[in-house]
Assembly symmetry: C2
């Protein structure tokens, strides 16, 4: 507390120069690729964090969402897009090439023109479509007993590239509390297939998004996180928009939702998809509303349908569809403290009320399924009636919609689609568990994907934290993916710093959930960083951290000298007082006294009733 | 995400000028005092947040820890100290004035001299002591059936000054999950007395700290938080040190621990106590160690005893005493991943090992009780063997110590002392609950006071968040006070900004816990801010926030104009898309359609099976 003015978190990463995106290795790690046994054609990315030689430990391998951007050898040019890693797999599945793709219309880009129009991404892009009678979706392949390359890929990815069970896996599983989840000690492609076939997991992977590095969402896998991005009112360059994606995945976003509105959304989406190694989700209703000038009552099924095809051909991997907001649910919201807070939900409620008709999304749900199946776009069934305040948590409107989502899940499965379910919102801690339990039972164990939930309403400016608490808990209870909330929630648009803080907060929540579930490998990183801490390996501590740059910067504020990075003390206690140093002395002293076992005996003989043998 | 560089959280509060401390009302609130019925001599502070006239709601009253510093009419001079609000109450209890107080010695201030020596605080201070045979401690008064002024004060404070039960109290209690706690709908002084008599709550309140505004720690009361402060290596002024306290309580710290080491600690402690309206806790072992040049093995009972008396006469309200670290526990830590991470624990372990003797704190525990009883200093029984990593959570060393703390709790009660118990540390989510359960059963329901716990080890730089998750959960399960963790934990010394972020994070955790426990009044603030949000009363939203300055600054980054503070939209959706606005339209439309009840009937008649009557 020695600074004259209030200081700010320190970040080493400035925004990249115009026309470029953020590249370079994440501090202290190298990018590697490994392959499942016998499948050298499948190359799965990880990061490896090498430790100081004195540690005498192998490098720590971590899950990596960052794509080629963190590979110093990769040549990154957003105009070229990313390599089409799935092209060969998809090419063998007999899909039909779409010759006459939907033409881009002025309204797709909000009538932007001239210098205001962002150019289309020049990266090559063919459009494909599945046909009736052939398996198209991962769900259909799984039901047919076929293991796809995507399934092999995610199995290897979830195992962090290990070819055999990690040591101590069974013990850690037994030690955890998984609330009925069943994470195996080792993930096989067949296990992935069976989870997808059961509807318990999805691999969002549009057949028109060949650049995708597949990932899986399900409660028997690592907990995932999503980051939302949106276009700026004034876009200076397409690269700037792509960089929002790149920045999010650099810090660990597993999927990214493009929630853009206004001008250029079609073309910017093109740039994002061609440059995205992670699944991209959208809410097609937002673009449809743009096309009718923002007036909900003017929406039609035809405009919505056209928007689905527009985005499907571009390669969007999952769509939020608010088909659970039915006419009959609307009155349930009228006495709420905060009404309807979901944009999609309020648009559909306004439409239903204006026409006094059942939602066209609900009425055309099977048509939507047919479209989404043809490209393998996963459903993210939107929670349009999620509570926007503690007062409205778990109310009749919310649960009525959840029951409808359960009904729709079964329809979508029958149509061959992959499905996940969106969830709240604002929920106090004691009402979180029932959300998870009810979602599992109503929706046949389809993966749950929640926003937070925020555990109190009173901390605008800190809602990454109010929601991070709820996210960690619901992740533990079985939620498969956590949608991040940034510090700007309720107040404004997140900037680069907010996005990073939001992503790191949610990586914490997801990892805390993995630990508590007894994930067989999650604790490896905790143990490595704790050993580094105990042995004063400061560089290893920074490098093993979720955010090495901030950890290092905070340390250097107090003890900037290079020599302090190897010092056997830190700024909290200083050299005299260091408790870790005393622990080392204890260990040495114990060893000196002819070994611990003997020492234990001595203590035991003298011992009081409280002595517990280790 | 439109900024060229990474931005920082925005704070309006710069450090005050030299020689002064932070003063002025917290944005958007006024300080008030109210009295319990018939006791106009007892004035309890609150803050009231007035709402916009269109709200047609009374002001929202909130708990206030900030002392006279946020009262614009108060004259603040750190040389004078604060008014002695308890002097009259204490004066009637028949304590003995200590004529020959302990003299300050050079080693008390780390041999600081000349210009390096911080002067003593000139504020007047008399020293008093209780005698055997008379009730001294709140515990002794409570056991004797006597309701003290402190008990009346905290009852009124916990009720937020209400004279009758808050509306809906019983419903909220029934709606919560309190894991066996029993928070009444209305707190009476008699209830406070009975909780203290049962050992379930404490009012830390040294009879030599008359400036204290009493507060209570117990699981049947609001969850409290503690902030740690420590002196700087180079102190520019006593006011700068006092300001660390003032800054912490401004944002909501209920108690403050002074963990200073090195030079000037005695004199700085004087300044802090004379200017503190909240209980001050210390770890006397730290100062004792300073007196023997930092060499643990040179510690003696005599030096420790002298330090207790030194600090007792100054008015410290609670002492962390690491008497649970016994010789026989030391070997249990030798194979831990991170050994002993508590400073106090490692000092005592080093002492035990060096002398191969039982801890002098354990052996002299009854003597310690006699001293602490004489001044009514509460025990905070230290968890010297708390786990410093996920790997070490809930291990034999930790639980062996906890069992010893249970044994010592009963000794301290028999001696008439108030007791709380310190807890971990690093604990994964699924192992938190058992900590609480075991603490309650081992320690006879004495209040639990935990550091976090941190739910993962992998996020240095964000440990306010890793621990905020654990803190919210253990608070819900029954922990009475949460010790904050700042973003600098494990890395360096917190600055002004870190302290604020740490305090706000822990206010979130404590409040989320109160909500989940079904505290009868906790949700009032959430509901008020949610109504403000729904009605676009931006100023009310900011003012009701835990940190009004940051909420306002974040909003103004995107929409700085004054007019936007009354705009019926925000930057997230903009005017066309605002879901809250659509909700208002729905409500109006619903009202137009001849009232909701009738409308429900209509829907019900048309209704599908999913319709749920509200």
């Amino acid at each position: 507390m020695d600074d004259q003015t209030l200081k700010q978190p320190i970040h080493r990463d400035a925004r990249p120069p115009s026309g470029q995106v953020t590249t370079g290795a994440i501090e202290g790690s190298v990018k590697i690729w490994t392959s499942p046994q016998g499948r050298e054609d499948i190359r799965v990315p990880f990061r490896e964090i090498a430790l100081h030689p004195t540690a005498n430990e192998p490098p720590v391998r971590v899950y990596d969402t960052s794509g080629p951007y963190t590979d110093p050898t990769a040549s990154i040019d957003v105009e070229d897009g990313l390599p089409a890693v799935r092209a060969e797999w998809l090419g063998k599945r007999g899909f039909s090439r779409v010759e006459h793709t939907r033409e881009v219309r002025p309204e797709d880009n909000g009538f932007a023109s001239g210098s205001h129009l962002v150019a289309r991404c020049p990266a090559p892009h063919e459009v494909w479509k599945g046909q009736p009678g052939q398996p198209v979706t991962q769900y259909e392949f799984a039901r047919a007993g076929i293991v796809t390359e995507e399934m092999i890929y995610v199995a290897h990815r979830e195992n962090l590239g290990r070819l055999t069970m990690v040591e101590g896996a069974e013990e850690r599983r037994a030690d955890g509390e998984d609330f009925g989840a069943e994470i195996p000690a080792f993930i096989t492609p067949e296990f992935v297939r069976s989870e997808i076939a059961a509807g318990r997991a999805i691999i969002p992977s549009n057949i028109n998004h060949p650049e995708l590095e597949p990932m899986i969402i399900g409660r028997n896998f690592l907990v995932k996180i999503n980051a939302n991005i949106g276009n700026s009112a004034v876009t200076s360059s397409a690269a700037e928009e792509v960089d929002k994606l790149v920045w999010s995945i650099r810090w660990g976003a597993d999927t990214v939702m493009d929630l853009s509105t206004g001008r250029n959304i079609h073309n910017i989406r093109d740039w994002i998809l061609r440059n995205s190694p992670v699944p991209i989700g959208t809410v097609p209703l937002y673009q449809a509303l743009e096309k009718v000038g923002g007036e909900a009552e003017k929406l039609t099924w035809e405009i919505f349908r056209d928007t689905l095809i527009e985005q499907a051909e571009q390669g969007v991997d999952y769509f939020t569809i608010h088909a659970g907001v039915r006419l009959q649910h609307v009155p349930l919201t009228a006495r709420r403290t905060t009404g309807i807070v979901s944009r999609g939900g309020s648009i559909m409620a306004a439409w239903c009320l204006a026409h006094h008709r059942e939602s066209f999304l609900y009425e055309h749900f099977e048509d939507i399924c047919d479209i989404m199946r043809s490209y393998d776009i996963a459903f993210s069934l939107g929670d349009g009636l999620r509570p926007g305040s503690i007062a409205d948590a778990n109310d009749a409107a919310q649960f009525a919609e959840l029951e409808t989502l359960g009904e729709l899940t079964k329809v979508a499965w029958a149509k061959g689609c992959q499905v996940m379910i969106e969830g709240p919102g604002h929920v106090p801690m004691h009402k979180i568990r029932v959300n998870m339990t009810k979602q599992l039972s109503e929706c046949g164990e389809a993966p749950f994907y929640t926003l937070g939930p925020l555990t109190t309403d009173i901390a605008p400016g800190y809602d990454h934290i109010t929601s991070g608490i709820g996210a960690a808990m619901i992740g533990w209870f079985g939620c498969a993916m956590l949608c991040y909330v940034t510090p700007k929630e309720h107040l404004g648009l997140p900037d680069r710093s907010d996005v990073k803080v939001g992503v790191i907060t949610y990586k914490i929540a997801a990892h805390a959930a993995d630990l508590a579930k007894g994930h067989p490998a999650a604790q490896i990183r905790d143990d490595a960083i704790s050993r580094a801490r105990f042995e004063f390996r400061w560089e290893d501590q920074f490098n093993l951290a979720l955010d090495p740059d901030t950890a290092r910067a905070y340390h250097d504020e107090t003890l900037p000298k290079e020599a302090h990075k190897t010092a056997h003390f830190c700024s909290m206690c200083g050299p005299k007082f260091c408790s870790m140093k005393i622990s080392h002395d204890i260990r040495k002293e114990a060893e000196r006294q002819e070994g611990m076992e003997q020492m234990r005996e001595v203590f035991h003989e003298q011992g009081g009733k409280l002595y517990l043998p280790a």
